[in-house]
């Protein structure tokens, strides 16, 4: 049976039309940010440079794509429609009359829908893993930089140990199906996910020690929410069944946090060593504030500029890491629509078909580019002050 095709121009139009919820959301958010940019602080300043606008635009585009993925994509990313095997871009699926805008892959799935759904996986794992890596790096980097001495030597040695691993080797060792049978990933998850709880508990404790009315509420909230998420993620024992993570996704998550937290640690340590010589730190020490209060409420807020920039870059880097994992077929399910896996599948068949390879590559590249542009203009803006 012969497939019918629509022209290249109609493909472009079709793609633009499918993204309609994204365009509406983008216009609303960008318009609002532009109108109120004076009042939005650092975020508002991004709209002063074209690089910043482009960066914010690309990041928001993928964010909204991930949110509205089910509306945008015409097909289920996992469903195979045999007649569409290796279909070229613009082929019309005879049953529903909908179009395979970017063609079909070798398993007859819609490349466009897979690209859209792939953004969901990336946009959940990459920022979350970066967040945890930041928590771990900050919680360990603050004392290492502030106290120095033996604690610094030990922690720095450990960080350098992890950094001396080539990332790819680390992943081959940590993200194998065999390791899921051992308690190692769960032990590491249990350790890493403890850090946010510790961080926020100490944060509130040092600040509101003298004001029990606030302290108990905040500490209670931290422990309840933290404990709930912790139980859901590590033991898969969420009583409400809302938080759930697949064992192999947990494994990836842990490996990515493990690989990127030493980098955060090094940056935080360096920043703290620089900031602790300032006068306001000396003033706080003279007031008799506790070391952890100084670290969390005097030093950390003043280190936020470089940390925000680093977080942006790191989300991009984590996206690249996830792609690497997908490219080597580690961890993620073989039919998963994430970009790395899609690139792996398509790159083996480049001699015969190139159309399944381009959408995921361009998607990944544009998202990382957006984050890097965002980081660059954030850095420029924070240097101006």
């Amino acid at each position: 049976m012969q497939l019918e095709y629509i022209g290249a121009f109609n493909v472009v139009l079709g793609v633009l039309a499918r993204f309609w919820p994204v365009w509406i959301a983008l216009v609303l958010v960008m318009g609002a940010s532009f109108a109120y940019k004076k009042r939005l602080g650092l975020y508002g300043q991004l709209f002063d440079s074209s690089v910043g606008i482009v960066g914010v635009g690309i990041c928001l585009f993928w964010l909204f794509t991930a949110i509205f993925a089910s509306t945008i994509s015409p097909f289920n990313p996992l469903v195979q429609i045999p007649i569409m095997k290796d279909a070229l871009p613009g082929a019309i699926e005879p049953q529903s009359g909908l179009v395979y805008l970017f063609g079909g892959d070798k398993l007859a799935r819609d490349v466009f829908s897979r690209m859209v759904y792939g953004s969901q996986i990336v946009l959940i794992i990459a920022p979350a893993a970066t967040g945890f890596a930041l928590m771990v790096g900050i919680t360990l980097g603050l004392p290492a930089g502030y106290y120095g001495g033996r604690i610094d030597t030990v922690l720095s040695f450990l960080a350098n140990l992890v950094l001396a691993f080539p990332v790819i080797l680390l992943f081959y060792l940590l993200v194998t199906p065999g390791i899921m049978e051992t308690p190692i990933p769960y032990a590491m998850a249990g350790l890493f996910f403890l850090f946010p709880i510790i961080f926020f508990s100490v944060l509130f404790w040092t600040r509101y020690k003298k004001r029990p009315d606030r302290l108990y509420i905040l500490l209670g909230l931290t422990l309840i929410i933290g404990g709930w998420v912790y139980a859901g993620l590590v033991f898969d024992a969420d009583p409400f069944r809302i938080i759930h993570i697949d064992p192999n996704q947990l494994n990836i998550f842990v490996a990515v946090v493990f690989a990127s937290s030493p980098g955060v640690f090094r940056i935080v340590r360096g920043l703290v060593m620089d900031i602790k010589t300032r006068d306001y730190v000396a003033a706080a020490q003279t007031r008799g504030e506790s070391p952890w209060y100084i670290m969390l409420w005097e030093i950390l807020p003043n280190a936020r500029g470089p940390l925000i920039v680093d977080a942006c870059l790191r989300i991009g880097y984590t996206t690249i890491l996830l792609g690497t994992l997908g490219y080597f077929g580690l961890g993620l399910a073989p039919e998963s629509p994430d970009w790395g896996t899609a690139i792996k599948d398509a790159s083996r068949l480049l001699r015969s078909f190139i159309h399944p390879a381009l959408p995921p590559t361009i998607a990944l590249m544009s998202f990382v580019l957006g984050l890097n542009l965002l980081a660059d203009s954030l850095r420029e803006q924070s240097m101006k002050d």
């Binding site: 040695f157 080539p166 790819i168 080797l169 194998t176 790159s347 590559t361 590249m365 542009l373």
Partner: protein, 344 residues
């Protein structure tokens, strides 16, 4: 200076010891050993047979004694042949000693590769040579281009050249090897047809036709990063007093850049280039798999995929060594190049 290097070498040895122990532990986890036994024995073997294979090949000895044997501080015991009861070689394809001897990494014996049925040394070192050639060409392409871009961009901060080149280098850092590799293959191999999308034939002889794509793919990710570091360092140097003095005494802009700024601006990129090696290592793995080039990265993936314990240990030893030695060179070189830094 000498004591600094010695201390660093000591830390390096300790780091390598810790890392190899961690790798050794992770590779020898029970599920991995089972997988190895399944792949090495015939189909449909029972659980007892798998277990006896592991015992016969010495995989069930105490962890520390095995690690010591691999390292070469505990004598390597020959295994007992179950048929004859005499001591025998662990694997027939490589000459393990038949009497207990110290034969580990320290003695230069890297063990046996179960996947390639040969000694690790005879597989690993040719592969390293092949990767060395690739790395050499990558550096030849990457370093001059990135330094040139960085200097041109940093020479006049905020100019149109600067902005264009900066965005270009940001774009190149946003393109990991598996993305640029696919895009380059599509453009140069599928559409234009001027280059070969596979470097498998490069093991027999390197030509422009089969080697350009891997080199280009590997270089592009590093170029952006080094260029940005060079630019930052160049921008900083150009604001210094002595540059202004040189300009005011009437030297031309070109000669100020070449004679005064360049030398000082190139100290920081040296460190960055050295620290770029660990990144290149990951890139090498991706590129070699993508373009089917039989080098170190390809060997590492084969070893990891087939649970080839000794080969994977050898690979990790080499890669960790490369990372640490480049760190050392970058530190020592930085102190050497920059007279303001004195190492104690």
């Amino acid at each position: 200076m000498l004591s600094f290097i010695l201390r660093r070498l000591g830390t390096m040895a300790l780091t390598m010891l810790c890392l190899t122990m961690v790798v050794f532990f992770l590779i020898n986890l029970d599920p991995n050993l089972k997988k190895l036994a399944i792949s090495q024995t015939e189909m449909h073997t029972s659980a007892e047979q798998l277990e006896s294979w592991l015992v016969n090949h010495g995989y069930r000895q105490n962890f520390f004694s095995r690690y010591g044997q691999w390292l070469g501080i505990v004598p390597k015991q020959p295994v007992t042949d179950p048929a004859t009861g005499k001591p025998a070689r662990r694997f027939s394809f490589c000459n393990d000693p038949v009497e207990p001897t110290f034969s580990g990494v320290l003695q230069g014996d890297f063990g046996c590769s179960t996947k390639f049925k040969t000694t690790v040394a005879s597989k690993l070192f040719p592969a390293l040579g092949a990767t060395g050639i690739l790395m050499f060409w990558v550096l030849v392409v990457m370093v001059p281009i990135s330094l040139l871009i960085g200097i041109l961009a940093g020479m006049r901060e905020g100019s149109r050249t600067d902005r264009t080149l900066s965005v270009a280098s940001i774009a190149s850092t946003a393109t990991p090897e598996y993305v640029s590799g696919v895009i380059f293959t599509v453009i140069f191999a599928s559409w234009l047809g001027v280059l070969n999308g596979s470097a498998a034939s490069a093991s027999r002889g390197i030509t422009f036709y089969n080697f350009t794509l891997p080199v280009m793919t590997l270089a592009i990710y590093g170029i952006g990063y080094i260029a940005r570091m060079t630019r930052a360092s160049m921008v900083e140097v150009m604001t210094q007093q002595y540059i202004r003095t040189a300009r005011l005494k009437g030297l031309s802009f070109g000669s100020v850049v070449v004679k005064h700024a360049l030398r000082n601006a190139l100290i920081a990129p040296f460190t960055v280039i050295m620290l770029q090696f660990p990144w290149l290592l990951t890139g090498v793995v991706i590129v070699e798999v993508m373009f089917r080039y039989q080098g170190f990265g390809y060997t590492l993936v084969e070893a990891a995929g087939n649970n080839d314990i000794d080969l994977l240990l050898g690979c990790s030893l080499v890669s960790v060594f490369i990372v640490l030695i480049t760190q050392l060179i970058s530190d020592v070189g930085y102190a050497f190049l920059n007279p303001r830094i004195r190492v104690q």
